[in-house]
Amino acid sequence: MTQYLDFEKPLAEIEGKAEELRALARTNTEMDVADEAAALDAKAAKLLDDLYKDLTPWRKCQIARHPERPHCKDYIAELFTEFTPLAGDRNFADDLAVIGGLARFQDRPVMVIGHEKGHDTKSRIERNFGMARPEGYRKAVRLMKTADRFGLPVVTLVDTAGAYPGKGAEERGQSEAIARSTEVCLQVGVPLVSVIIGEGGSGGAVAFATANRVAMLEHSIYSVISPEGCASILWKNAEKMREAAEALRLTAQDLKKLGVIDRIITEPKGGAHRARTETMETVGTAIAQMLKDLDGKDRAALIADRRRKFLDMGSKGLAA
């Protein structure tokens, strides 16, 4: 059932064995496997603890990209009501890599916008694996401006490997679209909160994550370049992604130290994909708290707060 990551192989074996035993017991009622299965479960739990206790940055990248990790659509279904998707950039197309629309968050009307990667082959292709084209950013700009006009808070959910590097995307102004989206994030006079739920890939992420408050799931990543991309440029070898992931400081824990994000949202043991509903609920609590933090701030204060936050970026280093 669960898709295991390469470093979870030993875990897969133990959990597989326990499953087999139980299946055997179901067909053969005289067998008593309860003790043995329980022992295996305990062993698996211990191993899961150990594996997730001290994850390397590269392992975190793998978890952040786990296909079963809850995606934007899942969060919207779980945490929002009356979701009314709004489509199109009024210029060229509707980019399905970006979902956005009106919804209620704990009864409060908001605008929710996020990257959607898709969950099977068909939807992944349809959504271009969550890699937005200019139309996606322009749709977001349009929705943010609408939210601004009607005083609705904006919630963004970031999960993208990056903006799509394609011919049409370039011709239609990918860089301008990203720049404009970042600019509008800074301009809106409503609360803007962002959660990095999986991958925060470079400019494609910044375009949505230039927010008053930015939270990150414990095992999500946020980086200027993918570890593979960095390895192929600086190490001249894409196989050095482990080293690159290390050097880039792309984990939530490092980013908190650097003052880039405001809070880390704890994931269930074994990562978000092992307890999806629980993860989404925790994210909901974090969104509620971030919005509450911003309650009572007027337009000018919200804009000034965002500006101050991003002007201060880089004032903290990792050195002792």
Binding site: E170, T182, E183, V224, M313
Partner: protein
């Protein structure tokens, strides 16, 4: 083989190798192969006198040619935290920085200055592609913020010359954060009602294009400059197909509605003066080579004196449209 290996790589190599032979009096145009005498080349702002190919020009040389009489005052840029991520790849980041400083004689990848162009006070910023590919790290962010603050303080327009491979990987997420940070700087200018003019030079790519370099009131590019978000190599790898000729070049972007103008470097100065003065509602500039500005701050009344008399000053020849402002 394709145009990347045949065309882009030799050009990039030549940019990097050129500094190693400063004693060379002759330079080969990397486009047409003509041997160009160094003085002639630099007088033509590093534009090939034979084929018009635009070669890299250092920020200092650009400013010397841009400002009246070649006079400008450098604006100090606040020093960022050194090596904030303690970044190591095959080399240590501080070692890479030192090597770049030695090779270019500059402290970092951006130069900020104030001065006058056609008697119009401005603040100018230029990015140095020779310095670690012009990459945008915290220093570049600081430079843009300092330039915007200075422009707002002095109520002057900001002209920015971009040239960068993108973000500086060695500063990781903090270089990425310079995208929103520089956008805040652009907003300061816009709120103060000051013109922000961007001149995109070869190459301007990645996070730089996707932030301050695409947010100008006016977007001008130098001919044939590569301007993109994702580089051609990345796109060819992703799509597995050859890209059309001239893809992501200035003229291609102009055709696709992404730029206001493509202007040769030798005509840029006059054009910038003209645009800036119109945006500021000032009368037309006095054309031609101008001496350095007077020591007193210049008041914004036009100085008709040099042009009105029938005997022009020898130092101020009539306009020729050539933006050659060597003193």
């Amino acid at each position: 083989m394709n145009w990347i290996t045949n065309y882009v790589r030799p050009r990039i190599n030549s940019i990097f190798s050129r500094r190693e032979t400063p004693e060379n009096l002759w330079q080969k145009c990397d486009e047409c192969g003509t041997m160009l005498f160094h003085r002639e080349l630099s007088e033509n702002l590093n534009v090939c006198t034979s084929c018009g190919h635009h070669m890299v020009i250092a920020p200092r040389a650009r400013f010397a040619a841009l400002f009246d009489g070649g006079v400008f005052a450098e604006i100090a840029v606040p020093e960022p935290i050194a090596d904030p991520l303690l970044f190591r790849d095959q080399k240590k980041y501080p070692d890479r920085l030192k090597a770049a400083q030695k090779a270019t004689g500059e402290k970092e990848a951006m130069l900020v200055a104030t001065g006058e162009i056609g008697r119009t006070p401005i603040v100018a910023v230029a990015q140095d592609f020779s310095f670690m590919g012009g990459s945008m790290g915290m220093y570049v962010g600081n430079a843009i913020v300092a330039a915007a603050e200075e422009a707002v303080k002095l109520k002057r327009p900001l002209i920015l010359f971009s040239a960068a491979g993108g973000a500086r990987m060695q500063e990781g997420i903090l270089s990425l954060m310079q995208m929103p940070r520089s956008t805040v700087a652009v907003q300061m200018l816009k709120e103060a009602g000051l013109p922000y003019i961007v001149v995109l030079t070869h190459p301007t790519t990645g996070g730089v294009t996707a932030s301050y370099a695409m947010l100008g009131d006016i977007q001008i590019a130098e001919p044939n400059a590569l301007i993109c978000f994702a580089g051609p190599r990345v796109i060819e790898q992703t799509l597995g197909e050859r890209l059309p000729d001239g893809f992501q070049r200035a003229e291609y972007l102009l055709d696709h509605g992404m730029l206001d103008r493509v202007t040769p470097r030798t005509a840029l100065r006059d054009e910038l003066i003209s645009i800036t003065r119109m945006l500021l509602g000032l009368p037309p500039a006095v054309r031609g080579d101008l001496p350095p500005p007077a020591p007193d701050p210049v008041t914004e009344t036009p100085a008709p004196a040099p042009e009105a008399p029938a005997t022009p000053d020898a130092k101020a020849p009539p306009a020729t449209g050539k933006a050659d402002a060597k003193p």
